[in-house]
C-alpha cells in the first residue's frame, strides 16, 4: 500500500474516533474493530497499518474526551440562574446586529467563556476587559437545534442577556491580533462609508465574513435563492487569493519559496482579519497544500489534502468537526465537487465545446448541491428550488466582486476622501446581485420547506448518495 494511502487511513481513523466516541462512547472501540476486521480480510498484508490506524482511532477518542474534560471543568454551572458579576476579556470580534451586539467574554476567575448579548451601545471592541452583572443561563436546544453543542465550537458554556455593564477597560498592551482587529475596523469603515445598504453589508460579509451586517431581507433572499454560501468566506474566496499568488506573483521575479512564505503570511493575517471561521480555515489549509504542491511542482491528490485539513482542524477542535454546520457544508461541498463533478461532466460531454465554461459551472454547482442538500435540509429545514440556476448566473461574479472590492479598499486606504469612486464597479455588480437574488427569491416555490428531515433521513440520504456514486463511477469506468 502507498504511503499516502496509509496516512489517509490513519487520518480517517482519527476523525472516526472523534465521531464514533461522541455517538457510541467506549462501544466505539468494538465498532472500530468490527469494521476493520472486514478491512483486514481485504488487505491481508496490512496488519501494521491496521494496528497504527487502530491507535490513531483511539487517539481520536481520547482527543474528544480531553476536549470534554476541559470544557466541563470551565463551566459556570454553580452560577446558573444567579445574578453574578463576571469580569473578563472580550475574545471574539463583537457581532453587531440591527438591534444588539454579541461577544464572547473569557472570564478570569472561572476560566470559562460566556456569550454576552448586549444593547448596541456602548460599543464593545475586541480585547477590552469588561465587567458585567447578569443572571447566567445555561444554553439549551430549541426547535431541534442543539444550540448548546453549537456553542461548544467556541468553547462557550454559558449565556448572559442584556447585563448591566459595570466597567469597560481598553487593552493597554500591544497584541498582534488587536492590531489586525483595528485594521478590520478600518476596512469596515471604508466599506460602510463608501457604499449604501444593502451593498455595504453584502461586501462586508463577502470580504470580512461579517454576516451580522446583513439585513433580514438580504439574508432571506440569499437563502431562498440558494446563494447564502457566497457570504460565507470559504473555498471561493481563499481560492481567489491563492490564484493571485500562484499565477501573478511569479511575474514579480520572486522565487517560489518566497512566494509561498508571502502567501502563508497573507493568508494568516487574512484569517485573523475575518475571525477564523471553520469554513475559511478548511479552505486556507487546502489552499496552502495546493499552493505548496503547485509552487514546488508536486501533485497532491485533493482527497488526500481534504483529509489532512479535516484531521488538523479535528486535532485542534474536535467540536468543529462534530457540531459546526459551516464546516459540514463546506466539506460536503468539496466532496461533492471531487466525486460527482466528473460524473456530471461525463453525462454532459455531448454539449458543444463552445459551452465548456457553462458545462463546468453546471457540473461544479450541481455536484456541490447534491452533497450539501441533505445537510441543508437537516439544518435549515428547507431547500432553494432554483439554487443551481442562481448559482450558475451569479457565482461567476463573485471573484470579480471580491477582486474589485479588495482593490477599492486598498485604494481607499490611500485616498479615503474619494473612496466612493473606487467602489462604483463593485456597487453596480452588487446592485445587480441583490436584484437577481430577489428575483429568484420571489419566484413561486423558490424555497420548499421540509420540516421532518431528521438525523435518520440525513444518514439514509448519504448512504443513498454513496451508492449513487458507486453505480455511476463504475458505469464511467466501463
Amino acid at each position: 500500500m502507498e504511503k499516502s494511502k496509509k496516512i489517509s487511513y490513519c487520518l480517517f481513523s482519527f476523525l472516526s474516533g472523534i465521531c464514533i466516541f461522541k455517538i457510541f462512547g467506549f462501544l466505539g472501540i468494538f465498532i472500530f474493530l468490527t469494521i476493520y476486521f472486514f478491512w483486514l480480510v481485504v488487505y491481508k498484508k496490512e496488519k501494521q497499518t491496521f494496528l497504527f490506524a487502530f491507535l490513531v482511532f483511539v487517539f481520536g477518542m481520547l482527543r474528544y474526551e480531553i476536549a470534554e474534560l476541559i470544557f466541563y471543568s470551565h463551566e459556570f454551572s454553580e452560577m446558573y440562574g444567579k445574578k453574578t458579576e463576571i469580569s473578563g476579556v472580550v475574545t471574539s470580534y463583537p457581532e453587531r446586529f440591527i438591534n444588539k451586539q454579541r461577544f464572547i467574554v473569557s472570564s478570569k476567575s472561572q476560566k470559562g467563556k460566556i456569550l454576552v448579548t448586549q444593547r448596541l451601545y456602548p460599543e464593545i471592541s475586541f480585547g477590552e476587559t469588561v465587567s458585567v452583572v447578569c443572571s447566567v443561563k445555561k444554553p439549551e436546544a430549541f426547535d431541534s437545534f442543539q444550540y448548546q453543542e453549537y456553542l461548544k465550537i467556541d468553547n462557550v458554556s454559558s449565556l448572559c442577556y442584556y447585563p448591566k455593564l459595570v466597567d469597560i477597560v481598553k487593552p493597554e498592551n500591544f497584541s498582534f491580533r488587536s492590531s489586525v482587529y483595528t485594521l478590520r475596523k478600518k476596512v469596515q469603515k471604508i466599506i460602510f462609508r463608501s457604499l449604501p445598504e444593502p451593498q455595504a453589508g453584502i461586501l462586508s460579509a463577502m470580504i470580512l465574513g461579517n454576516k451580522s451586517a446583513l439585513d433580514k431581507k438580504t439574508v432571506s433572499d440569499f437563502q431562498k435563492s440558494g446563494i447564502s454560501h457566497i457570504v460565507a468566506i470559504s473555498g471561493l474566496h481563499i481560492g481567489i487569493i491563492a490564484a493571485v499568488f500562484i499565477f501573478l506573483f511569479p511575474y514579480t521575479g520572486l522565487g517560489r519559496k518566497k512566494i509561498f512564505i508571502f502567501f502563508l503570511l497573507f493568508i494568516s493575517v487574512y484569517l485573523i482579519l475575518i475571525g477564523m471561521p471553520s469554513s475559511a480555515l478548511r479552505a486556507a489549509l487546502l489552499s496552502i497544500f495546493v499552493s505548496y504542491g503547485y509552487l514546488h511542482s508536486r501533485i497532491i491528490t485533493p482527497e488526500y489534502i481534504l483529509l489532512w485539513a479535516a484531521g488538523i482542524i479535528g486535532f485542534f477542535s474536535p467540536y468543529v468537526v462534530l457540531y459546526d454546520p459551516a464546516f459540514h457544508l463546506s466539506f460536503s461541498a468539496v466532496i461533492g465537487i471531487l466525486f460527482f463533478r466528473p460524473i456530471i461532466l461525463f453525462f454532459t460531454k455531448k454539449i458543444s465545446k463552445k459551452f465548456i465554461f457553462f458545462q463546468e459551472l453546471f457540473a461544479v454547482s450541481l455536484s456541490a448541491q447534491i452533497t450539501t442538500a441533505p445537510l441543508i435540509l437537516f439544518y435549515f429545514k428547507g431547500i432553494a428550488s432554483f439554487s443551481v440556476a442562481s448559482n450558475i448566473l451569479l457565482v461567476p461574479y463573485l471573484p470579480v466582486i471580491v477582486g474589485l472590492g479588495f482593490s477599492a479598499i486598498f485604494l481607499s486606504l490611500l485616498f479615503f476622501k474619494y473612496s466612493w469612486i473606487f467602489f462604483i464597479p463593485v456597487w453596480v455588480l452588487l446592485e445587480f446581485f441583490s436584484y437577481m437574488s430577489n428575483f429568484f427569491a420571489v419566484l413561486p416555490f423558490s424555497f420548499v420547506e421540509v420540516n421532518s428531515f431528521g438525523k435518520t433521513f440525513l444518514i439514509l440520504s448519504y448512504v443513498f448518495l454513496f451508492f449513487l456514486y458507486y453505480i455511476f463511477s463504475r458505469k464511467i469506468q466501463k
Binding site: R119, L120, P396, E431
Partner: protein
C-alpha cells in the same frame, strides 16, 4: 477563457444598463418618508434640490438599511439631523449613521440625559466636529421652498435634567410652499395644550408618542385639523396606538396610517397638494 470573458462582458453591460437606466429616468421631487423603524420614530425629508433632512433615528439600526432606498448613492450627505428628544427609540439609528454619512448640522435641545446611547452620540458628534445647533438659539431652517420652524420648546432646556424626556420633545412645523406637516416627537398631553395658542394648523400630523393615550388631546387635534395623521409605531407592550385615539380619529373622519401596518409611509408634495404614494 474566451467564454468566461464573453459571459462577464455581456452581463456587465446588462448590469450597467440595468442600474444606469434607473438613474437616467430618476427625477428628484419633494418627499417626506415616515420610516417603518418599529417602535420608534424616524422620518426623512428630501427636497427637489437634493437636500436630505432626517428627523429622529428610530430604536435600532433599521434606519441605516432603509436609507439606501431613499437617498440615492453616491449621495452620502445629510444636511440636517433633528433629534426631537434623546430617548433611545428616537436616537439609536442615527449613531451608526454618523460613521456612514457626512452630517452638516445637528439640531438638539441639549437637555442633560444620562443614557449610554446619548453620551456615545454626543461624544461621536464632538469627535467628528459636526456643527451642533441648539433649540434655544436657533428657531428656523430654510432650504429653498422648505422651511422648518421650531414651535416648542420656547424656553431654554440646555443642560437641564428632565424627569420625563418626552416633555422636552421638539415640535416642528415643516412648511413646503403652501403645505405643512407637524412633527411632535413624544410630547405629552399637558405640554400639547401650551401649543394651542400658536399657529399649529397643518395638513399632516405625525401623532405624538406612537399614538399613546398620554399624548391624546382632543383640543390639540382639533386645533391642528390635519387631513391625515401618521402614527409611527411597531410591535410593543404599551398598547400603542391607543384604541381610544383610533376611535376618535375614525369618528371625526380623520384619515390615519400606521407604519406598523403600512410599512414606510411616503408623501410627495406638489405646489398645493400632498399625495400619499405608499
Amino acid at each position: 477563457m474566451k467564454n468566461i470573458r464573453f459571459y462577464i462582458i455581456i452581463f456587465s453591460i446588462f448590469a450597467i444598463f440595468f442600474v444606469g437606466g434607473e438613474y437616467f429616468f430618476y427625477k428628484s421631487i419633494f418627499e417626506i418618508i415616515f420610516l417603518d423603524v418599529g417602535q420608534g420614530d424616524s422620518a426623512v425629508i428630501k427636497t427637489a434640490e437634493g437636500k436630505n433632512i432626517i428627523i429622529d433615528g428610530g430604536p435600532d439600526n433599521t434606519l441605516v438599511y432603509k436609507l439606501g432606498q431613499y437617498i440615492r448613492w453616491p449621495d452620502k450627505n445629510i444636511d440636517l439631523f433633528i433629534l426631537s428628544h434623546p430617548d433611545a427609540d428616537h436616537l439609536i439609528g442615527i449613531i451608526e449613521l454618523l460613521d456612514r454619512y457626512s452630517f452638516k448640522e445637528i439640531y438638539i435641545t441639549g437637555i442633560n440625559h444620562k443614557t449610554p446611547e446619548y453620551k456615545f452620540f454626543l461624544r461621536k458628534i464632538q469627535e467628528q466636529g459636526i456643527k451642533v445647533s441648539f433649540a434655544h438659539i436657533k428657531d428656523e431652517f430654510i432650504f429653498g421652498d422648505l422651511r422648518i420652524e421650531k414651535i416648542y420648546p420656547k424656553e431654554n432646556f440646555y443642560g437641564r435634567e428632565m424627569s420625563n424626556a418626552n416633555d422636552s420633545s421638539l415640535v416642528l412645523k415643516v412648511r413646503y410652499k403652501n403645505l405643512s406637516v407637524l412633527f411632535t416627537g413624544d410630547l405629552e398631553k399637558e405640554k400639547q395644550e401650551e401649543l394651542l395658542k400658536y399657529n399649529i394648523k397643518s395638513d399632516l400630523l405625525k401623532f405624538p408618542h406612537h399614538g399613546s393615550l398620554d399624548s391624546f388631546s382632543e383640543e390639540f387635534l382639533s386645533t391642528v385639523q390635519p387631513d391625515e395623521v401618521i402614527i409611527s409605531v411597531g410591535e410593543n407592550f404599551f398598547g400603542h396606538p391607543s384604541k381610544k385615539v383610533l376611535r376618535y380619529l375614525e369618528r371625526n373622519s380623520v384619515r390615519y396610517v400606521t407604519t406598523q401596518e403600512n410599512g414606510d409611509v411616503i408623501f410627495s408634495f406638489t405646489d398645493n397638494k400632498i399625495i400619499r404614494k405608499h
